[in-house]
Amino acid sequence: MTKVEAIIQNSKLEAVKSALQDIGVEGMTVMEVRGHGRQKGHTEVYRGREYSVDLIPKTKLELVLADPMVEKAVQAILGAARTGKIGDGKIFLSHIDDAIRIRNEERGEGSL
């Protein structure tokens, strides 16, 4: 099993969600996050005050998938979240040892 963590632009959430649903991904966790990569902050002056946004609001998706699904999911996210500009986000993959469904203690891929 692999955990897919994707940091994407907020505006791309709906597109990414539906692309993942289209390939049969059923569950995911979505979080409101802030951060920046190479795309640094953004400063807006309003009424003489500078409002700098050092950490830009982003959306983070987390999903744990059976290995055969991972590449398809990565491609779905890439396809839906990419604009080609700085700030499109990142995808991180990491290996997962086990998963347990709390309701019935089912383990492994069956619990996903």
């Binding site: 907020n10 505006s11 996050v33 807006e44 309003y46 009424r47 003489g48 946004v53 609001p57």
Partner: protein, 864 residues
């Protein structure tokens, strides 16, 4: 039933059989009271049987030890899966020690029968001791009931110990009970209007019913120094509460049987089933889940009111500091209303026959944050039938309503009006959302409560310490007509009462009816309709890339003006906040703010996009229909005005400007003066000329007027429309009607060169005392060449002071700049002025900008 055998297995079978019978009986009759009484009796018989077998074979034995039912079991209210509250009462420590083993076996046997006990063991002396950290135990004794064992021992507890204890500790008991109740209510957001309420713990639930009974009982015992008669609550209240109790009991039994455990949450699925089975409302016709929930809220409401009123009225329910504060508030009394301990009473009980007094009462309540006394509520209820035949409406009702909406405790007053059925009598448009449950994943409250909470959240911005709330509080303070925002919040979700259609469309229709009823003027109506129609617009834009200038531009263009943008931003913030306590995360608050400032900046930087009289635009089309007779004149008048001109002025105002321009032949300087609620509004329509705006600002300064906002626009033909909004610092116009004419004439005279502005300003300066600024604002001057294709935008932020606008504008004119557009605003002591400048019809060169900047810096750093 009779428990024929004392063996555990047979007792278990018998318990199961009887429990099943009680459930069947309940399913057939829906009678909650009968079900809890039957279960109480069943458990009682089992306990007695086991007691005979395991503790004492003698009736009423053994001596010095008794089995007492307390809490819900003591009241005879044993719900199907509730814990059984038991007290093992001993005469002293020796007795406790002597019966330790049989009591342990007795408890064990009950556990084996799967009866969930909530037991306590106390000696008589221990029962007499009050522990402030365990008020619950003493409170549970108020419902104590003899089951078996030493009857004399129980009689000592009931007849002597408890009355003495309650009289001695009544203050602490009431304060403890009040504190626990307030904490519980706060945990539930201080409202009963939850989408999935808890029947026991939510405000208006069974716990509140019990608290009301306990408070009344303790007060009565304190007075009588003994147990009072059964009915300690006032008769009408009791009758109303008994109906509520029947419903709540039936609903709780239903939930217990449905869930097979002590789960009191009215989930959506449970609501569906309760409605289909008409739980607690067997006489009703077919019910939807929303109908059934309305019945529930209808019963929970008087229960919550009863407990809140008792908490207010019983002197010991508050700390002495709070009482001192409430007693101090007695001085708020007026000839119409008296205030006693924070409660409003009527000076003349018959006064409510006058609807104006009734409306003033809620304004008074909203202003001071006071509560209505029970008698005042009773009087209001008595008045309603007569009021229903000719309810107040029109401008008078709107006047009172807007004044109430603007007060800091408006939401509490609205809730009180709603609870008494007055709000829906005055505004029947709110009926469809009365206690309406609309199921979605995020909302936690009914639609009406959500609207009140949204209004409340705006009023609370000022007291908040949160960084975000403080920013939004500043915006709220800048609004010209905040009452329109509050009205929009009250009505924004009314369309949810019509299932199956887009609720925004429904809300717009309902708002139109409501504003007809209130006879509101077209400008006010347009703003409220815009806010309701756009109330999801900002949230929708937040789902796009708000750092993309195109997204921001599209949003800003839809909103149109800075004033509307501020209102929509606050409406969105309040709407999100009222969804549930966690809905507005700092992440969302930051996104809303980011979008707001980007859109505000966009509006200021794009103010000079020009209008063409033949464009196809909704506003222009409306103007065209109004101006059909003079369509050519209309086209040439409109040609070349900035888009911003059309956005900040209503169609009627534009028509008036055009009419004024038509009179140039008689008088080349057309001046109109109006008094608004917050400030005076001066409109000047004339031909453009050098120093025009500076001169106009100078005349106002010379009269001691403080310019708060201003717009200056001109069209292609050189017609200028300047609007200046000012406060009359010396009340010259307010106190002297004759000065209105002289004031307008002096503007004309100065502009026509027939009066000397410099002299007028010198005279004013001599009579002025230097005021010390409370907040120091650093001067900041920014030039922007990119936002307009034809002008250079200059934004000046400076300490607000007399003649500031005149000095800035004169500085521009001295530097040969033409002011194409001026957008003047003030925030506290900060002046925020944006000017679109040209030189010979083009943008300023960098060298020219530098000269302008130096001149401005020199001028603004000069003392006067």
């Amino acid at each position: 039933m009779t428990v024929s055998s004392s063996s555990t297995g047979e007792l278990r079978d018998s318990l199961q059989e009887e429990s099943a019978r009680i459930q069947q009986e309940f399913e057939a009759t829906g009678d909650g009271r009968a079900a809890v009484a039957a279960r109480t009796q069943l458990v009682e018989q089992i306990l007695k049987k086991l007691w005979l077998r395991l503790v004492s074979p003698q009736e009423q034995g053994p001596r010095n030890c008794a089995l007492v039912a307390t809490g819900g079991f003591g009241r005879g209210w044993l719900f199907p899966y509730s814990d059984i509250d038991l007290l093992f009462l001993f005469a002293d420590r020796d007795a406790e020690q002597a019966f330790k083993d049989p009591i342990q076996r007795f408890s064990q046997e009950l556990w084996d029968l799967r009866l969930k006990l909530s037991p306590a063991s106390r000696t008589l002396a221990e029962c007499d001791r009050f522990d402030p950290n365990n008020t619950e135990f003493t409170i549970s004794l108020l419902d104590c009931r003899y089951l078996t064992g030493d009857r004399d021992l129980f009689a000592r507890l009931h007849g002597k110990v408890i009355p003495k204890l309650v009289v001695r500790e009544s203050k602490a008991l009431i304060q403890g009970l009040a504190e626990v109740t307030r904490q519980r209510h706060a945990k539930h957001g201080n409202t009963l209007f939850h989408l999935e309420p808890n029947l026991k713990e939510s405000p208006g639930g069974l716990r509140d019913y019990n608290v009301a009974c306990w408070l009344a009982l303790i007060s009565a015992m304190d007075k009588l120094r003994d147990w009072p008669d059964a009915s300690s609550l006032r008769a009408p209240v009791r009758k109303q509460l008994e109906a509520a109790l029947d419903f709540l009991m039936a609903a709780r039994c239903f939930l217990h049987f449905r869930h097979g455990r002590d789960d009191n949450t009215l989930s959506w699925e449970a609501q569906d089933e309760a409605a289909a089975r008409k739980i607690g409302a067997p006489e009703s016709p077919e019910l939807t889940a929303a109908d059934w929930m309305r019945i529930y809220f209808g019963h929970a409401r008087p229960v919550q009111r009863a407990v809140e009123q008792l908490l207010e009225e019983i002197p010991d329910a508050w700390s002495s500091l709070y009482r001192q504060f409430q007693s101090w508030r007695s001085r708020l009394s007026t000839p119409d209303f008296s205030v006693v301990d924070g409660l409003i009473f009527l000076q003349q009980p018959s006064a409510l026959q006058d609807p104006e007094i009734l409306l003033r009462l809620f304004h008074f309540m909203a202003h001071h944050g006071l509560k209505l006394s029970t008698t005042t509520e009773y009087r209001i209820e008595q008045t309603l039938p007569a009021l229903a035949s000719t309810p107040p409406r029109g401008a008078e009702l709107w006047l009172y309503l807007q004044e109430t909406l603007l007060q800091p405790h408006a939401a509490e007053a609205l809730r009180a009006m709603h609870s008494l059925r007055l709000l829906t009598l005055l505004l029947p448009e709110l009926k469809p959302i009365d206690a309406l449950v609309v199921r979605d994943f995020y909302h936690r409250f009914t639609v009406d409560e959500h609207s009140f909470l949204a209004i409340e959240s705006l009023h609370r911005l000022n007291q908040s310490q949160s960084e975000w709330d403080k920013r939004y509080a500043e915006l709220l303070g800048e609004l010209e007509d905040p009452e329109l925002l509050y009205l929009a919040l009250l009505l924004h979700d009314t369309g949810k009462g019509e299932p199956g259609r887009n609720h925004v469309e429904g809300s717009l229709e309902i708002a139109e009816q409501c504003m007809d009823r209130l006879d509101m003027d077209p400008g006010e109506r347009a703003t409220v309709l815009f806010l309701i129609g756009s109330h999801l617009e900002m949230s929708a834009t937040l789902r796009r890339d708000i750092f993309n200038p195109e997204t921001v531009a599209a949003f800003a263009e839809k909103v149109g003006t800075p004033e509307r943008l501020k209102m929509l931003c606050l409406l969105t913030y309040a709407d999100m906040k009222a969804v549930n306590p966690e809905a507005l995360t700092p992440w969302k608050a930051e996104n809303v703010w980011q979008l707001y400032i980007s859109a505000a900046n966009h509006l200021n930087r794009s103010a000079d996009q020009r209008v063409h009289g033949d464009v196809d635009d909704e506003k222009v089309a409306r103007l065209r229909s109004l101006a059909s007779v003079t369509s050519n004149k209309f086209k040439s008048f409109l040609e070349g005005f900035p888009q911003r001109y059309l956005r900040v002025h209503s169609a009627e105002e534009v028509m008036r400007h055009m009419e004024m321009a038509n009179h140039f032949g008689e008088d080349p300087v057309q001046v109109e003066l109006k008094r608004g609620r917050h400030w005076y509004e001066l409109t000047l329509v004339t031909r453009d000329r050098p120093f025009l705006f500076a001169t106009l600002a100078g005349v106002l300064a010379a009269w001691g007027m403080n310019i708060v906002k201003a717009n200056a626009f001109s069209n292609q033909a050189g017609t200028v429309v300047d609007s200046l909004y000012f406060t009359d610092s010396f009340r010259t116009l307010e106190l002297n009607l004759s000065e209105w004419g002289r004031f307008k004439r002096s503007i004309t005279d100065v502009l026509l060169g027939e009066a000397d502005l410099a002299r007028m300003l010198r005279d004013r300066q001599r009579s002025e005392k230097g005021a010390i600024a409370k907040v120091k604002v650093e001067t900041r001057i920014d030039f922007d060449h990119s936002c307009s294709s034809t002008s250079t935008l200059v934004q000046v932020i400076a300490q607000d002071r007399p003649r500031l606008l005149h000095r800035i504008a004169s500085c521009f004119s001295d530097q040969k700049c033409n002011i194409e557009i001026a957008l003047i605003d003030t925030e506290g002591q900060m002046a925020i002025d944006a000017f679109y400048l040209t030189f010979n019809g083009a943008k300023l060169t960098p060298e020219h900008c530098k000269r302008v900047e130096n001149a401005l810096v020199e001028e603004l750093s000069a003392k006067n």
